[in-house]
């Protein structure tokens, strides 16, 4: 009976069509129930309509029970917002972890919105906890906000912090070496539970920047990313049968399993304290999504639970050009990553109207667009001798036409600058900012002659002490800051004074590898730490690998056997820096840092070019509660300190 079957099929077909959720529907089928009642009462109520509906349905406790006893009140930047909408942005590949920083910034303490990098602790605000510090900065007590809950409804207490301390930090398999920010006087920190809502961190010696580190992503923030009730099942100290879970997961051992489970960007099961919780991880598919945390513990001044926005949606792009096109097409609500390169600014700027977006200024925490770092610890003794000759470096500095670089490469933005912290900070050092920045070819030649390299070959290139022409190869990252363009100009400037420069355009990975193995003549460095000079100090004192001018000194300082004992002035800097790290008083810190900068100025480690232009972010016009301008650059994980939970979207 074929005709009969056909009728059935038709009936079935029309049935599915009528439900609206059928294959033949041409609307995007999100897989969610479409007819969620948008309860009228909830629109102006203290929680998002979607959550109100869940409360009504009995699947979620009422909002009063979900919030802490005294929720943290967040002042909106402009106005009280409305619920709903999504924040659309992108990430550059599945392992672009920093793209998720703005939704993962909930530590015990946080940076102030108007962060200036000032010394002292005034710019560190209570967040999940309030804090007290003893006189010398060796003991820190944190009072957790009672009633705060993880995103699954379990309470967040001192036990969670203790779990992190005892089972993660002090577990030698998980943490083979305690990171420097948690040690003082050679001893790791001791954490004590005072009561259910109070923990104390004690150090063997004063610790100047512990609170700063506590406010920093990937450092202190992880202290509050270890929900004990969830993670203990993956830890052999708490679950003797962990091997069964390891076998089930297919991972190598329990450490791999634990690290996999604690990774909140990819594990959708881990409870969080953040405004949005990842529900679609970036390592699967071409999108990632984070959705509203129903237990988020912050409210606006009207007592409405935050966040306003329902979700954050990332599309994973493989190419920066695609990100750029999306941005100017108006498909990005707020983002800056990957846009601030090359000559994008004019294009992004002129499309503002068409794309219905505006630009927000990011005040970049850098004092230099490009510093030339000659390798003062070069393995080749001849090159080392040349580079360590201060007159040689001074000569090179005078030979640079900085204004021309600014005009040609950086659209006229910035001013000639050596390597001092920015003028707006208390660390500004006039000599370090302005010495040898004039463009003066005669003076340059004079210094190079003084350096002893007066002989030249037939091409006019000066000869080094070994009778060979002086050739410097500089590694330039190809992907950012227009460093290869700067390099091309430097080639001409230095050829004019008899030094041959070659540019080696490399990827960031290759550059890092060449630097860490000390296989390079020179490097372009970024001037990070222009504002947060105390937190990112390596442009002033070579304490870490990014100080490429003193690579082997940095290794020595970090205790590596292949490091190289530095000369006296650097040693003196190290002594001062150690002293500074153990000084809690802000004024004394500034005094000590000034001495460090004095030595840096005298030694003239690296050659600066110009202060950097500001960065920009694309902001859709429908996005609200954002400032015109905010700081950017580590340790400030912009725009997170501006409380993304209070951003909202108008219709």
């Amino acid at each position: 009976m074929p005709h009969r079957r056909r009728t059935w099929a038709l009936a079935a077909l029309s049935a599915v069509v009528l439900t609206g959720c059928s294959f033949f529907s041409t609307d995007a089928d999100t897989g969610e129930d479409d007819d969620t009642p948008a309860s009228d009462t909830a629109a102006g109520g203290p929680e998002a309509p979607t959550l109100a509906a869940q409360v009504e349905a009995g699947t979620l406790p009422p909002v009063e029970e979900r919030l802490p006893d005294e929720p943290l009140v967040v002042e909106p930047v402009e106005e009280i917002g409305t619920y709903g909408g999504e924040w659309r942005t992108y990430m550059m590949g599945p392992d672009d972890d920093n793209a998720m920083n703005p939704i993962g910034y909930e530590g015990l303490v946080r940076w102030a919105r108007e962060y200036t990098g000032a010394s002292g602790t005034d710019e560190i605000l209570p967040n999940l906890a309030d804090y007290e510090v003893n006189e010398d900065g060796s003991s820190y007590t944190f009072h957790l906000r009672p009633g705060t809950r993880w995103s699954d409804g379990e309470p967040f207490t001192a036990d969670d912090i203790m779990f992190w301390y005892e089972s993660v930090l002090m577990n030698e398999t998980l943490t083979p070496s305690v990171p420097g920010w948690l040690t003082a006087g050679g001893e790791p920190v001791t954490v004590t539970k005072v009561d259910d809502h109070t923990v104390r961190f004690d150090f063997a010696a004063p610790k100047a920047f512990f609170l700063h580190d506590m406010a920093t992503l990937d450092r202190g923030v992880q202290v509050a990313e270890h929900p004990r009730h969830y993670l203990e099942q993956f830890h052999p100290d708490h679950n003797p049968d962990v091997e069964a879970l390891v076998a089930e997961s297919g991972l190598g051992d329990w450490v791999a399993l634990f690290e996999n489970r604690v990774d909140w960007r990819r594990n959708v099961d881990i409870p969080r304290l953040a405004p949005w919780v990842v529900t679609d991880p970036p390592n699967d598919g071409t999108t990632a999504t984070a959705e509203r945390n129903p237990y988020y513990w912050k409210v606006d001044p009207d007592g409405k639970q935050l966040p306003y926005l329902d979700q954050v949606s990332y599309s994973i792009v493989e190419d920066a050009e695609v990100a750029l096109l999306r941005a100017i097409d108006g498909e990005v609500d707020l983002e800056h990553r990957g846009l601030n390169q090359g000559d994008n600014y004019p294009l992004v700027s002129e499309n503002q109207e068409a794309g219905d977006y505006r630009l927000m200024t990011y005040d970049y925490d850098s004092m230099n667009i490009a510093t030339v770092q000659l390798n003062l610890t070069h393995p080749d003794p001849v090159k080392r001798e040349i580079y360590n000759n201060k007159d040689f470096r001074i000569g090179l500095s005078y030979a640079i036409n900085r204004q021309e670089i600014i005009d040609l490469v950086y659209n006229g933005q910035g001013e000639p600058w050596q390597t001092s912290p920015l003028e707006s900070t208390p660390f500004y050092h006039e000599q370090l900012a302005t010495q040898y920045v004039e463009y003066d070819v005669d003076l340059a030649n004079q210094h190079l002659d003084q350096a002893g390299y007066t002989e030249r070959n037939a091409d006019g290139i000066r000869l080094g002490p070994d009778g060979q022409p002086i050739v410097v190869t500089i590694d330039a990252r190809i992907d950012v800051f227009n460093w290869t363009d700067v390099g091309e100009l430097l080639v001409d400037y230095w050829a004019a004074v008899g030094i041959e420069l070659r540019i080696n355009p490399v990827s960031d990975e290759v550059r890092t590898e060449r630097r860490d193995s000390n296989q390079f003549d020179a490097h372009f460095g970024s001037g990070l730490g222009g504002r947060a000079a105390l937190i990112v100090p390596w442009n002033y004192v070579p304490v870490a690998a990014p100080a490429a001018y003193g690579e082997m000194w940095a290794r020595w300082y970090e205790g590596y056997p292949d490091g190289e004992e530095p000369p006296a002035p650097v040693q003196e800097q190290y002594d001062l820096w150690r002293q500074l790290e153990a000084t809690f008083d802000a004024d004394q810190q500034e005094e000590l840092f000034k001495q460090i900068l004095d030595i840096a100025a005298e030694e003239f480690y690296q050659i600066g070019i110009a202060t950097p232009r500001q960065e920009f972010a694309v902001v859709k016009n429908s996005m609200h509660n954002l400032p015109e301008q905010m700081p950017s650059g580590s340790p400030y994980p912009n725009p997170a300190p501006y409380n993304p939970e209070q951003f909202f979207k108008s219709e």
């Binding site: 083979p176 070496s177 991972l251 290759v510 860490d516």
Partner: protein, 331 residues
């Protein structure tokens, strides 16, 4: 006879694959640095800094401090004994999951492109062979050479701009934003089709141009053969004659390359896929190579090699079946 031929070929495959797996793994590891260098570079670019002590600990955890041979042995035994391709460092997920997830759309894209190439190239090639030195032939040749000469990524960028500017489409990917995570329905299929034509045309142009030349050349060889003249003399209609005899023979070189299509099914066009941010395997492979995610990249190349070898085998078998001279000719 045939069985022996196949068995012999399969046995030859084993040493080939072992050699290929070793070489690919070594080549991936050859550049200085490892995956952690990528991580460090990225963190430092944002002003963060990892303790060297922690780095060493991580290196040990991932087994990156061991010799290449130990790493290779662990990887290959995992594959052979347990079918386990290892963990991707970039994706923090099993390699097999990463590849599998993108396989469907990759194959769809490749098959569609292939269909496009054949559908366009074979008729045009035949036309320009039959109407040699006509205006149409010159036009097809001209367009074909342009297709061959312009780099794919450039066409990609141009079409991307055109589709954004004049068609108002969302840029990159195979779906509009609202459909990306939606379940399959007619709307999603239509949306896919609206996006799919761009990569298909881009990847197809070069292939089409090449194919037109092959078809034209092969057919020209055949058109002057005596059997064609005979058929024509016997009064066979021109169209029927063309399709029934010379075209079939001219097509055999095309059929014999079917085997090579297997690897291209999953490698997709890497650069085009990156430029268009397609959810195919191409970008994954490029990223894996860039960040020295050796298990992901190695497994990828291994799978491609296996497919190449198997594809060659298949086309050899096909040819042997079609043409007895190949089967017996070796003696």
């Amino acid at each position: 006879m045939m069985t022996q031929f196949v068995i012999r070929r399969v046995l030859y495959m084993i040493p080939t694959l072992i050699a290929v797996s070793i070489v690919t793994f070594l080549v991936i590891q050859a550049p200085p640095g490892d995956y952690l260098t990528t991580v460090v570079a990225r963190l430092e670019a944002e002003g963060q800094y990892v303790d060297r002590g922690q780095l060493d600990a991580l290196r040990e955890r991932y087994g990156l401090d061991e010799s290449v041979w130990v790493q290779y042995w662990r990887w290959i035994t995992g594959i052979v004994l347990h079918g386990d391709f290892g963990q991707s460092l970039v994706y923090s997920a099993p390699v097999s999951d990463v590849i599998q997830e993108r396989l469907g759309l990759t194959i769809l894209l490749s098959v569609t492109t292939l269909a496009f190439v054949w559908a366009v190239a074979i008729p045009i090639g035949m036309y320009s062979a039959v109407r040699r030195y006509s205006v149409g032939d010159y036009a097809a040749t001209f367009v074909g050479f342009i297709g061959l000469a312009i780099p794919n990524f450039l066409i990609a960028l141009i079409l991307l701009y055109v589709s954004y500017r004049y068609l108002g489409q969302s840029v990159g990917g195979l779906f509009s934003p609202e459909f990306v995570d939606a379940r399959w329905n007619l709307g999603k299929v239509l949306d896919l089709l609206a996006h799919l034509w761009i990569p298909v045309v881009i990847i197809g142009t070069a292939g089409t141009a090449g194919m037109i030349r092959v078809v034209r050349a092969n057919l020209l060889d055949e058109l002057n053969r005596p059997y064609v003249v005979t058929a024509r003399a016997k009064g066979l209609p021109e169209r029927r004659l063309l399709i029934k005899y010379p075209s079939r023979i001219a097509a055999s070189p095309i059929v014999s390359t079917v085997g090579w299509l297997l690897p291209s099914l999953i490698s997709a066009e890497i650069i085009v896929s990156v430029v268009l941010s397609l959810p195919t395997t191409g970008p994954v492979m490029l990223r894996a190579l860039e960040s020295q995610d050796m298990y992901l990249a190695g497994s990828f190349l291994l799978v491609l090699s296996v497919l190449t070898v198997v594809g060659t085998l298949i086309s050899d078998i096909l040819l042997a079946r079609l043409d007895p001279r190949i089967r017996y000719g070796r003696r």
